[in-house]
């Protein structure tokens, strides 16, 4: 007869880290779908490349570290990182961009710090920032939405551009980015930023074809897609509500104050919300528990700081979008935030008999 001594509790909610990761990956689908719809196959190809790279890189490092490869390779965290990198980079960037990005994210940012749970920075964003700084040309070659493009871009064309730099018909990335009217197009955030430096008002910028009817042709739908996925995650309790709420509120408040201050030089709140990586950042990146703050209070501070930084960098920084930089800065601040937002333990510093005097 054998008995087993196990520690309480004996039952478990039966949740698994890998299940949470899988759920987050599924939640990116609406956003990826919108990307595909407006920008073609590029991001999906990059996501696939990044996933393959991430798996190979993770496998290599895990075998070097003599870890349980089966359990850790498919815990979903590496794949999620790869998916986020694939989503973030321009659709027609060369193939090695996503390969380098994913390899850097997994090997340097994640595994060298000790693997899942030990990385101080969000691997996807650290990878993205590394790419942006190292390869600024490729990383800012955003193509316009398909409907604004002068040239057709099929799946084969996209694949050809990503791998060889030219479409089947021989058009370069630069030519692909050209509008029917003959000028190179940028993202809505970039357009507004450039126009402001050229002395145009926001209202004038809003007439640019890349803006479309609302806040950015295609971009608004991509953000809506990630918002939808994020709400799904919230409903599933896979992520904490505190971070996205405080991030979006903070960005809203900051942009609202600026907008009310000067409508000509500041974009609207919704422009900020539905452009760039705002929703992706709010629900998929800032909510990364490993590199974020842990307590609810801490998460509110963390999100608010990120929102403020996104606004400041978008408004005054050298880059049109700011989510990646804001995330990295907040990652650095997370331990400090945690230190100062520890909850009061039950029975400690009790304000005496508060209930009795009510």
């Amino acid at each position: 007869m054998a008995f087993w001594i196990a520690s309480s509790p004996h039952n478990h909610i039966k949740s698994e880290t890998s299940a949470i990761m899988r759920l987050v990956i599924y939640a990116t689908i609406p956003g990826i779908f919108a990307q595909w719809y407006f920008f073609g196959w590029g991001n999906i190809i990059h996501i696939s490349l990044a996933i393959i790279t991430a798996l190979v890189a993770e496998f290599t490092i895990l075998s070097l570290r003599e870890r349980n490869i089966k359990a850790q390779l498919f815990d979903g965290s590496g794949i999620l990182t790869a998916v986020l990198i694939g989503i973030s980079i321009p659709a027609i960037a060369p193939w090695w961009i996503s390969v380098i990005g994913a390899a850097f994210a997994i090997i340097i940012v994640k595994q060298l710090y000790g693997g899942l749970g030990h990385n101080p920075f969000n691997p996807a964003m650290a990878g993205y920032v590394m790419l942006l700084i190292s390869f600024p040309l490729q990383m800012t070659s955003w193509q316009p939405p398909l409907e604004l493009m002068a040239l057709p871009l099929s799946f084969v064309d996209t694949l050809s551009v990503i791998i060889g730099g030219f479409t089947i018909d021989g058009y370069s990335v630069e030519q692909l980015r050209t509008h029917i009217d003959g000028y190179t197009m940028a993202t809505p955030l970039d357009t507004v930023k450039t126009n402001l430096t050229m002395g145009l008002t926001i209202a004038e910028s809003m007439e640019n074809p890349v803006i479309g009817e609302n806040f950015g042709l295609g971009w608004e739908w991509i953000n809506a897609g990630f918002l939808l996925g994020g709400l799904f995650l919230l409903a599933k309790k896979a992520i904490s509500w505190a971070t996205p709420l405080s991030f979006l509120s903070s960005l809203f408040v900051c942009s609202l104050i600026a907008f009310l201050f000067s409508q000509d030089s500041n974009a609207s709140t919704m422009f900020h919300w539905f452009n760039g990586a705002c929703m992706l950042g709010a629900f998929f990146i800032l909510t990364d528990p490993v590199s974020g703050a842990t307590s609810i209070k801490g998460r509110i501070v963390f999100g608010a700081l990120a929102g403020f930084l996104v606004f400041i960098i978008r408004k005054y920084g050298g880059y049109p979008d700011a989510v990646a930089f804001a995330v990295l800065i907040c990652n650095m601040a997370a331990p400090l935030i945690d230190q100062y937002t520890r909850p009061r333990t039950y029975g400690h510093n009790v304000s005496s008999n508060k209930a009795g005097n009510e």
């Binding site: 007869m1 001594i5 309480s8 949740s15 880290t17 039950y346 009795g356």
Partner: protein, 671 residues
């Protein structure tokens, strides 16, 4: 305080932080009455079944005991006696595995029942009003009642508080999944429970009595409401189901909105909490004179054919109860004592039921997979923070876990590890499936152990310091004594009495004797060593001997000096010519010195004459001067010859330095 009661009457309660909703599984046993089980063949009674210390043993092996007879006697408030659950014989008193998370063995009484179940004499109390509070407390104390909810705190300590009590809270929350023991007890024995509550009321005279019960026990709630309908003081508080509502601190927070400050008993807030099963036991003890010898135990789990609540005698082996409830005989048994959240798995089914045992769980593999099949599934913490969301003590389980793994005791104390109530909510929700509570338990015991060691070390230090001080003190005292004795002796000697004088002269004589002896040995030693000059007269012999000795010494010194120079040379420059030169110089120096010494020997002879060192030399010096001179000359010549010989040797040595020096060299290097 009125506002609290008003709130409660409106059905509004406070809430505690976090909490979880594990599957309840109470349906397995809630629809069946409490079953009485027959007396097992053997009862195993641990001497200590509560928090505190065990009482003193009153029986021996072979003693016949009657049902209800006290087996131990309490001499301390934290010691609770135990009683014989049935009549029988004490067959052994030995260590056996007890109900403890670590499978610990402790001293147990083994009783073999005689089957007669014969009671000791009982005094049934018909009129409670006749008893004073002290009588009541005595009865509770001697009946061996300790908290029956889980912790097992001695009840008489709780009820003999001197604080003014505002709230007496009766804990009927029973928040652990599976357990329905209190539920069934309420439904079947509510009048006795009310008696128990009334007894507590008369002892503590609280302003209000609150019965906290979770809303998942509708029948028990109904019964309680009916039973207590006539008592204005008692409020039945129906609370939303959430684990761990039944935790003392949590229930206090829910009902009164107050937090029990860390390190303080609830009585300081004017609150006393008793488990509802304890109330039943109090009534039984006070009214029927039945000590705590049995309790309701939920035997549940899907591995059982007939899960049911049973009246179990204390000391009944778990295996016996499981057998009664249809436990399949299988190899790998996974049995849990207590609920699935805070219970502990048992190392053997011979573990007995004790006063705090409210549940025995035999889950099927699907319900609660045993670690046989799964092993550990722990992965790295991803700081998701779900644990801190559910922690009722508002701790940071993830940070505690890191510090526990790193054995950072200071940080653990800073994070208030000891406020952890080990409810298991954190580990229940952890997606990385980290056995958090286990880490905390280990860390807690390590810290406790360290504290013990620190205290011991502190004691040892104090003892050492005391010893050192004592030794110093003794030494000073001893020195003081010696000094005093010496002073007394001196004073006595100088006092001028005849006695003192004789003492003084004795000392002087002794000193003189010592001096003479010394001188003699000094003179004779060289003579004995030297044979060639044996014929020479004693006086000159002495002088010559001295001179010779000196010469010898000098030569030896030179020898060493030469050797040294050679060594040094050899170290710095290995070329032979240089060594030769040096050796020659050294030899020349030695020769010169020897010559000089010979001159000196002349002078010395004269000097010796004048020197009054010893009497013998003095006597002869003047008369035999010439003889001495001659002898001295001879001695000098001998010395010279010796010096020359030495020089020759040195030269030889210098000529063939390689052998000796290579021998020496490593030595000098190594030093």
């Amino acid at each position: 305080m009125g506002s609290v009661i008003e709130r409660i009457k409106r059905g509004h309660f406070w809430t505690f932080h976090g909490g979880i909703h594990p599957p309840e599984q109470k349906f397995l046993t809630t629809d069946k009455p409490i079953r009485a089980v027959s007396i097992p063949e053997q009862l195993i009674l641990p001497l200590q079944q509560h928090i505190g210390i065990s009482a003193d043993l009153q029986v021996n092996v072979g003693d016949k005991v009657l049902k209800g007879q006290a087996l131990t006697k309490s001499t301390h408030p934290m010691a609770v006696p135990i009683h014989a659950p049935t009549s029988g014989t004490i067959t052994a008193i030995k260590n056996a595995v007890i109900a403890h998370p670590s499978g610990l063995s402790e001293l147990c009484l083994f009783i073999t029942p005689d089957g007669e179940d014969r009671w000791r004499e009982r005094k049934i109390c018909t009129d409670l009003a006749k008893l004073t509070d002290n009588d009541l407390i005595d009865k509770i104390s001697s009946a061996g009642i300790s908290g029956m909810g889980g912790a097992g705190f001695p009840t008489q300590v709780k009820v003999s508080t001197h604080e003014k009590i505002k709230f007496l809270i009766i804990n009927a929350a029973e928040c652990e999944p599976y357990i329905t023991a209190d539920d069934l007890l309420i439904r079947e024995h509510s009048p006795s429970i009310l008696d128990g509550i009334n007894i507590l009321d008369s002892i503590l005279s609280p302003e209000h009595i609150l019965i906290g019960i979770e809303d998942n026990k509708p029948e028990a709630i109904k019964v309680l409401q009916q039973t207590t309908a006539n008592n204005e003081k008692i409020q039945v508080c129906v609370l939303p189901t959430k684990y761990p509502t039944g935790g003392e601190k949590q229930l206090i927070q829910i009902l009164t909105g107050q937090e029990v400050p860390a390190g303080v008993l609830p009585s300081s807030l004017g609150i006393v909490m008793q488990n509802i099963a304890t109330c039943f036991a109090i009534a039984d003890a006070v009214i029927n004179d039945i000590p705590l010898i049995k309790r309701v135990v939920t035997v549940s789990g899907q591995a059982l054919q007939k899960p049911q609540n049973v009246w179990s005698l204390l000391g009944t082996p778990v295996g016996y109860l499981l057998e009664q409830c249809g436990y399949p005989n299988k190899d790998k048994k996974h049995i849990i004592m207590g609920g699935p959240m805070m219970g502990y798995s048992l190392p053997t089914d011979q573990v007995p039921v004790v006063k705090t045992t409210n549940c025995i769980l035999a889950p099927s593999e699907i319900e609660i997979s045993s670690p046989y099949s799964t092993g550990t599934r722990e992965v790295e913490c991803i700081r998701c923070g779900q644990c801190s969301d559910v922690c009722p003590a508002q701790l940071l389980p993830q940070e505690l876990q890191w510090s526990a793994k790193a054995k950072d005791h200071q940080q653990l104390n800073k994070l208030n590890l000891f406020d952890c109530i080990e409810c298991g909510a954190c580990a229940y929700v952890c997606p990385s499936q980290i056995p958090l509570v286990n880490y905390y338990r280990i860390a807690k015991s390590e810290i406790r152990q360290q504290t013990q060691l620190d205290i011991k070390a502190e004691h040892a230090k104090v003892r050492f310091e005391a010893r050192k001080e004592r030794l110093t003190r003794d030494k000073i005292a001893r020195e003081e004594k010696q000094r005093a004795a010496a002073a007394a002796r001196k004073a006595r000697m100088n006092s001028g009495t005849t006695e003192a004088k004789s003492e003084m002269s004795a000392v002087a004589q002794a000193l003189a004797r010592v001096k003479a002896k010394k001188a003699q040995t000094k003179v004779q030693a060289p003579i004995n060593q030297e044979t060639p000059t044996a014929n020479v007269a004693q006086k000159s012999q002495v002088a010559a001997a001295i001179a010779r000795a000196k010469a010898k010494k000098l030569a030896a010194q030179q020898n060493i000096a030469v050797e040294k120079t050679i060594l040094v040379d050899q170290n710095t420059d290995t070329s032979k010519p240089a060594v030769d030169k040096k050796a020659k110089i050294a030899a020349a120096v030695a020769k010169a010195k020897a010559r000089k010494f010979a001159d000196k020997a002349h002078v010395k002879n004269v000097n010796v004459d004048d020197k009054p060192i010893d009497d013998k030399v003095e006597q002869v010096s003047n008369t035999e001067k010439t003889l001495v001179d001659k002898k001295a000359k001879i001695a000098a010549a001998v010395a010279k010859a010796k010096a020359r010989k030495l020089a020759e040797q040195q030269a030889k040595l210098a000529a063939t330095p390689s052998n000796e020096i290579t021998n020496e060299k490593p030595k000098s290097e190594s030093t």
